[in-house]
């Protein structure tokens, strides 16, 4: 095989079709349509197969990226999927929603030293994930029951990752979800046009084939406490992946006016409760014609694009910094701009103004300019004196971040940090023996893949806590060179226990 260099690979990224901006702004179908087989193979050709791949280190769960691409190039799609899912449990989800430009693709040598667009790792991952769903692939397993019971609080990405790893390690896992449908932010937050519910259902179906039991309508902390799970309910360990969830407001006048809501509320009403289909579904939304969304993260992008699809005439984004500091995923910002959302950078509301009926009618905003860098390293926005102006809007949506949900703090003795998030050590153990936590409830709002990484790390800590041996070093396939099986054990099984030490 000719060694690949930056010169002999395809210079352009393979084509991925997207829905036309004008058409898609009026429907909830997926915007990015994904690669087809030819495009996936073509894009795979662009990987240089670096001997020391930076992309693996750039991935929060260290997917063997050149490894799966290599199998893909050999048309061994099943093998590629197995290699991929050694590290990630939700390829169809993460391929769609990870901010790859800050992770794997951001450090890809094709871009960093070659000056081309990076290999579209996320799109390849997504293609394999979708293929697995279409073909009904899941790994064959020989799970040795470990006779431990683990309770998992929440059913978002952190919990799903943790539950899957523990189920593979032989534990009897029960996931408790407060809402009536599982998936956490994948279900209520990320809208259909970015992440179809059918994909979420398929990934949750994978969990169930592992024997994980999911109990919806169960609010841990109120129906029973974390302490009760360990004592009277007989769980040997508990993982808390309850998410951050509680939306922040700015505490400026007028926030309680009608028509002012959090992005969480808007997205929950729309994605979980199908308010866009009112009155066939009973939950109303009451969206106005001129929407202003405060904030410019992924949640803000989702809220704006959902509003557009629900028939808003104008959607505006109000953000106090500039486009450069905008925390949203680049692709989403680009899609939002294409769809006709107006962006108002360096603008911050100081007051919301209402009409006689108590409905919001305008935002009083202030222009900002960038000052010195703050502790986060970003330049701090400073108000410009006398720059106030009014901006009409009949719906104002807050997407300025979240704070930790207070319920578990109110009802258990778990130690919280000064911001109210659960305090853990580096193994993700909390102050209660046998209780581990990960995801947004520990770090504050982050990404799906970081939450999954935390869930997997906590699962490893829980296995150690329970005394389940980690077989990763024993069954490392690369060391032996055997393909397919090792000592009669399916390679897909590596990392997971077959031997119980008690």
């Amino acid at each position: 095989m000719v060694r690949k260099t930056i010169r002999n690979i395809p210079q352009e990224r393979a084509f991925m079709p997207v829905q036309d901006p004008e058409a898609r702004a009026a429907n909830f179908d997926e915007v990015a349509l994904g690669f087809d087989e030819a495009a996936a193979l073509l894009e795979s050709e662009r990987c240089l197969m670096c001997p020391e791949p930076a992309c693996i280190a750039g991935c929060p769960v260290s997917i063997d990226i050149p490894g799966f691409i290599e199998k893909l190039l050999k048309n061994d799609y099943r093998g590629a999927y197995d290699r991929l899912t050694d590290s990630t449990l939700l390829p169809a989800v993460c391929g769609r929603v990870c901010p790859q430009e800050e992770q794997c693709e951001g450090v890809c040598a094709v871009a960093v030293s070659g000056g081309l667009e990076p290999v579209a790792i996320g799109r390849l991952e997504r293609w394999l994930g979708d293929k697995a769903i279409a073909e009904g692939w899941h790994k064959s397993r020989h799970i040795e029951p470990a006779r431990f019971r683990v309770g998992v609080v929440g059913s978002g990405p952190a919990s799903m990752a943790c539950a899957a790893d523990l189920a593979k390690a032989g534990c009897e896992v029960t996931v408790f979800e407060a809402l009536h449908a599982p998936g956490g932010v994948l279900r209520y937050g990320i809208p259909e046009f970015r992440l179809p519910n059918s994909v979420v259902d398929a990934e949750i179906g994978q969990l169930e084939t592992l024997g994980v039991e999911i109990k919806c309508n169960t609010l841990v902390g109120r129906l029973f406490t974390v302490e009760q799970m360990l004592s009277e309910m007989g769980y040997d360990a508990v993982f808390i992946g309850a998410g951050a969830g509680t939306p922040k407001f700015m505490d400026i006048p007028g926030e309680n006016l009608n028509g002012v809501l959090s992005a969480n509320e808007l997205l929950t009403r729309c994605n979980l409760m199908h308010a866009g289909d009112f009155p066939n579904y009973d939950t109303p939304l009451g969206l106005g014609k001129r929407i202003a969304v405060i904030g410019a993260g992924n949640t803000a992008m989702d809220a704006m694009r959902v509003s557009l699809r629900l028939g808003a005439e104008e959607v505006h984004c109000v953000y106090r910094r500039t486009e450069l500091e905008c925390p949203a995923r680049a692709e989403e910002l680009h899609h939002a701009q294409e769809e006709g959302i107006a962006f108002h950078w360096l603008t911050s509301p100081v007051e919301l103004l209402g009409d006689a009926e108590g409905n919001v009618r305008a935002l009083r905003c202030q222009r900002m300019e960038l000052g010195e860098p703050d502790e986060s390293g970003r330049r701090r926005p400073v108000p410009v004196e006398g720059s106030e102006f009014d901006f009409e809007a009949d719906t104002v949506v807050y997407a300025i971040g979240t704070s930790p949900n207070p319920i578990l703090g109110q009802t258990s003795k778990i130690r919280l940090n000064k911001w109210g998030y659960i305090e853990t050590d580096e193994t993700l153990a909390t102050s209660l023996a046998g209780v581990y936590a990960g995801g947004d409830i520990v770090t504050g709002a982050a990404t799906v893949i970081l939450a999954m990484g935390a869930g997997r790390k906590a699962a490893e800590s829980i296995r150690q806590y329970l005394g389940i041996r980690d077989s990763a070093s024993v069954y490392e396939p690369e060391r032996t060179g055997f393909e397919g099986t090792l000592f009669g054990i399916d390679l897909a099984e590596r990392n997971f226990t077959h031997i119980r030490l008690m």
């Binding site: 909830f28 407060a178 809402l179 009536h180 449908a181 599982p182 209520y188 259909e192 519910n197 259902d201 949750i204 179906g205 169930e208 999911i214 109990k215 919806c216 309508n217 169960t218 609010l219 109120r222 129906l223 029973f224 969830g245 509680t246 939306p247 407001f249 505490d251 926030e255 309680n256 009608n258 028509g259 809501l261 959090s262 969480n264 509320e265 929950t268 009403r269 729309c270 409760m273 199908h274 866009g276 289909d277 009112f278 009155p279 066939n280 579904y281 009973d282 939950t283 109303p284 009451g286 629900l310 108590g358 949900n405 207070p406 319920i407 109110q410």
Partner: protein, 320 residues
């Protein structure tokens, strides 16, 4: 998401199965074991849920979904029976969802979803003498509060308001936990003629050593109660009922103004100091979805009429 818009107006909206999460994932095991109709609009459901019966405390609420296309509606836990493993909800059929519950929820049936107990339990203080006030929807949920105070050794004065005598329920239950029990009716057909505030003022005048008042009911009633006790500087707790979606502190739809600060009623409440609550703000926010509520109700009524006119075999609803 399926196609939206054009409300359909097809009779099938009620009976046709909806797309939703796979049914094996979504738990739907909340059997209705008792139903009692108190009046044309008020009815009681007792629902089997042993874990919730064990965990529930006075002042807490549940969120119910009647069916998979339903909305999530908060209902205060009116009573719980740890032995039977049940909780009791008292529902007033006022809008689409509650009327749908009235039509569809029968003994032997189940609710699609019920989650709770939610909210911070009421703080049952060691007050020596309390007035427990219930009006309208609040008559049922004031009962476990009154019982808790009684069990705590307090002298309990119950004051409940109804529109007229034929709507009265649970009188014997209240009498069993109250040292004094005052019924007020709007039309004077039973007990005191007038509003619950008259009952409160009478009790304050008679006793003079009331430590605390707890009031549950429509916001306008709770505000009147708070105003009645303010000059006497009697601590007054109210249970707020803003619009909710998830009930877990995730959306802030239920935010209320208390002492000038924003609070989320579902996780910071629902009980707050009545003298600090901004009731105007609460009532304003409760009007938020009036037009949609009306639209939803009208469409449902229309569908019911069509179903009644349809041949008998098509009239499936209400029989599940």
């Amino acid at each position: 998401m399926s196609t939206r818009g054009n409300g359909g107006g097809v009779a099938g909206t009620i009976t046709q199965p909806r797309e939703a999460g796979p049914p094996d994932i979504v738990s739907s095991d909340f059997p209705i074991v008792t139903r009692t109709d108190f009046s044309d609009t008020t009815f009681l459901l007792e629902i089997l849920h042993p874990a919730m019966a064990k965990a529930a405390k006075p002042g807490q609420f549940v969120i119910v979904m009647v069916n998979e296309h339903g909305e999530r509606i908060p209902l205060t836990i009116a009573d719980f029976d740890r032995q039977r493993g049940t909780i009791t909800l008292v529902i007033q059929a006022v809008g689409k969802s509650s009327r749908e519950m009235q039509a569809e929820c029968r003994v032997g049936g189940t609710l699609f979803g019920m989650v709770g107990p939610m909210g911070i339990p009421s703080h049952v203080s060691d007050a020596k003498k309390v007035i427990c006030v219930g009006g309208g929807l609040g008559v049922a949920p004031i009962f476990p509060q009154a019982r808790a105070f009684k069990e705590n050794g307090a002298y309990v004065i119950g004051v409940v308001g109804f529109r007229s005598a034929n709507l009265i329920f649970w009188e014997h239950k209240f009498r069993s936990v109250c040292d004094e029990f005052i019924i007020c009716t709007d039309d004077g057909s039973a007990g005191l003629k007038g509003l619950v505030t008259q009952g409160i003022e009478g009790a304050i005048a008679e006793h003079g050593d009331i430590d605390e008042v707890v009031a549950i009911g429509p916001p306008i009633m709770m505000r009147a109660c708070a105003e009645a006790t303010r000059p006497h500087k009697i601590k007054t707790m109210v249970s707020l009922n803003p619009i909710m979606v998830d009930g877990t502190g995730m959306c802030g739809g239920c935010r209320v103004r208390v002492g000038g600060r924003i609070k989320f009623a579902c996780v910071d409440g629902p009980d707050f100091d009545g003298h600090a609550v901004d009731f105007d703000d609460l009532m304003q926010r409760l009007k938020r979805y009036r037009p949609q509520e009306q639209q939803s109700l009208e469409q449902w009524d229309e569908n019911c009429r069509r179903l009644q006119m349809a041949p008998a075999d098509a009239a499936g609803h209400g029989s599940k």
